[in-house]
């Protein structure tokens, strides 16, 4: 039984036609937007398979005429990009694991453990989010220099281990853990850490995944800090190595595109695999924010 809304009762076709037209237009705009958004990335991939000079044509070619892996070969043999890839992987994986643990503990404490000054301290932390990281970068560099951590992987990772934003994220989610669950465990005599490890962590797993994905992406993509702290080019992470290469090889378009592909692909893969986590994390975090 179909109900006709008053709007379309006047002409059987006109209301639905107008809606369909609007819908088609909507999708055309969406598709155009998608094309514009993806074009730089698609061109990047396409150019990475062109031989040297293949991208410097008028008019610019969108697809390679003779696709080749030559650029990738150069990257991984002469330019040793695999080493930088591994550097990035090391820094990112360690940073992610440590960050999830450290922030989960702190976030849970703020959410579920009662201690004096809890809310006041949390508010102060929130204010600190306004401070640009650059204010501390120079003194942090000097501090790490004192500690002998300049130009080390540990030095690169340290800023990623704990983040106020991460603590926020965890706390937000952990607030939803039922107190009864925790109190029951306490009555049974379980210690706080045991409760955290055995009960809380499994329950907040979704947000842990979100935080891990966020940390992975931000550590993998970070540029300014590794640039500052690393001086040995063998230790460079991918973004720094890429920036370095781009100075020397500014004429080698196709080579640089291949380098960009190698840098971006892992980040995109992580994003695609965990996208629901990402989306949920960003959307949920903002409503309360």
């Amino acid at each position: 039984m179909q109900l006709r809304s008053p709007a379309s009762a006047s002409g059987i076709g006109s209301g639905t036609t107008r809606r369909t037209l609007a819908n088609v237009l909507l999708h055309l705009v969406l598709i155009l937007g998608a094309v514009i958004t993806l074009t730089p990335l698609v061109w990047m991939i396409s150019a990475s398979f062109m031989p040297a000079g293949g991208a410097n044509t008028i008019p610019p070619r969108f697809l390679p005429r003779d696709p080749t892996l030559a650029q990738y070969v150069i990257l991984f043999t002469r330019l040793n990009l695999a080493r930088h890839f591994l550097n990035s992987a090391l820094v990112t994986v360690v940073a992610t694991i440590v960050s999830v643990l450290v922030n989960a503990m702190a976030g849970y404490a703020f959410a579920k453990l009662r201690f004096p000054g809890r809310d006041r301290i949390f508010q102060r932390l929130a204010l600190a989010l306004v401070v640009p990281a650059q204010v501390g970068m120079l003194p942090l560099f000097l501090l790490l220099r004192q500690l002998g951590l300049v130009n080390t992987f540990a030095g690169v990772m340290i800023p990623y281990f704990a983040s106020i934003y991460g603590i926020f994220l965890i706390r937000q989610y952990a607030l939803g853990v039922p107190d009864e669950l925790l109190d029951a465990a306490r009555v049974d005599g379980a210690g706080e850490f045991r409760i955290f490890w055995m009960i809380v962590l499994p329950v907040i797993r979704p947000i842990l995944v979100t935080l891990a994905a966020f940390t992975f992406l931000s550590a993998w993509n970070d540029f300014m800090w590794p640039l500052i702290i690393l001086s040995d080019s063998a230790k460079y992470t991918l973004p720094v190595a890429l920036a370095n290469l781009s100075g020397e090889h500014v004429q080698d378009t196709e080579l640089m595109m291949a380098g960009s592909v190698v840098t971006i692909v892992p980040a995109l893969i992580v994003f695609l695999v965990f996208q629901r986590s990402f989306v949920r994390g960003i959307m949920a975090g903002s409503i309360k924010g």
Binding site: P60, F115, A133, P139
Partner: protein, 295 residues
């Protein structure tokens, strides 16, 4: 029996907080405080080797920086980026969110993924890609503009167009993030408000103005302020694409700070610039909050 569990909880709480607290305290709060102090000294390359040669100079760095035209150029460039790029970014994000939130969208999550993808990419890598897209002769952008009869623009070598080029890149890269936040905001507006407005005879535009926009007000505030704070920290794009050129037209505050601190090793001056950036960011955020509260 509240006291016993409470104090045990409190003790455990400190243990739980210790790692994060220690890390944030030692590697964030301490350096930020040190940065404030450093800005009052002339710490430089001589002091790195022999700290005793660093002198306390009070506000001299601040006076020198505030009277340095290069600093004001950097502020102007950064403000250009923030004031033009920020609202543009937010508008595109809102537009994308509105499109995705429309009732009968097919493949919604596919489009959402595509629109968000640039956010996940590495900025340095895409800056390099866009540098080639902006090539006056071989770049795709001038080629596409040519279809509309527009003469080739020397994007990154023309002082007038270099910052707009960077703004365009930033909008492309970031719009997906705020799009998600707007989507969340849109979905949180109760449908009954729309129905009530439709019953009152309001058309699509009126519904947008009187239901959607007010409903999104807190989101606008959040998105506006966070985008502004992020954009004040412009660094990687000019570093990779233009090195602050041409003729210093893309030298941002953070790029200037980087040059002073890590090229010339004048760390006292660089810290001063960082502190000034903090103050400018705060001022910008407060102004925006005030403006939005009034609107």
């Amino acid at each position: 029996m509240k006291t016993l569990p409470a104090s045990r909880q409190a003790r455990s709480a400190w243990l739980f907080l210790a790692p994060a607290g220690g890390l944030i305290g030692l590697f964030f709060f301490l350096p930020v405080t040190a940065g404030l102090l450093l800005s009052l000294t002339d710490f430089d390359i001589y002091a790195i080797a022999a700290p005793a040669t660093a002198r306390f100079v009070g506000l001299r760095n601040y006076l020198a920086t505030l009277s340095n035209p290069m600093f004001w150029t950097a502020v102007k460039n950064t403000l250009y980026f923030v004031v033009v790029g920020g609202p543009l970014s937010v508008a595109v994000s809102l537009g994308a969110a509105l499109l995705l939130n429309a009732p009968r969208v097919r493949l919604r999550s596919l489009f959402r993924t595509v629109y968000f993808a640039p956010v996940a990419t590495t900025l340095v890598a895409v800056a390099i890609v866009w540098r080639y897209l902006y090539h006056p002769r071989y770049g795709l952008l001038n080629h596409v503009l040519g279809w509309f009869g527009i003469e080739p623009i020397e994007w990154l070598s023309d002082p007038q167009w270099a910052m707009p080029a960077i703004i365009l890149l930033a909008v492309w890269k970031n719009f997906g993030y705020n799009m998600l936040i707007f989507l969340a905001g849109l979905q949180s507006i109760s449908p009954e408000l729309y129905e009530a407005a439709a019953i009152d005879g309001a058309g699509a535009w009126r519904r947008f103005r009187h239901v959607t926009l007010p409903g999104l007000a807190p989101v606008f505030l959040f998105v506006g302020v966070t985008t502004m704070i992020g954009y004040f920290q412009l660094f990687a794009e000019p570093y990779v694409m233009t090195q602050g050129g041409p003729f210093g037209s893309t030298r941002s505050i953070v790029l200037l700070m980087y040059e002073e601190g890590f090229r010339w090793w004048r760390m006292g001056v660089a810290s001063t610039i960082a502190v000034l950036l903090l103050l400018i960011t705060l001022a910008g955020a407060l102004i925006q909050i005030r403006l939005q509260r009034r609107a």
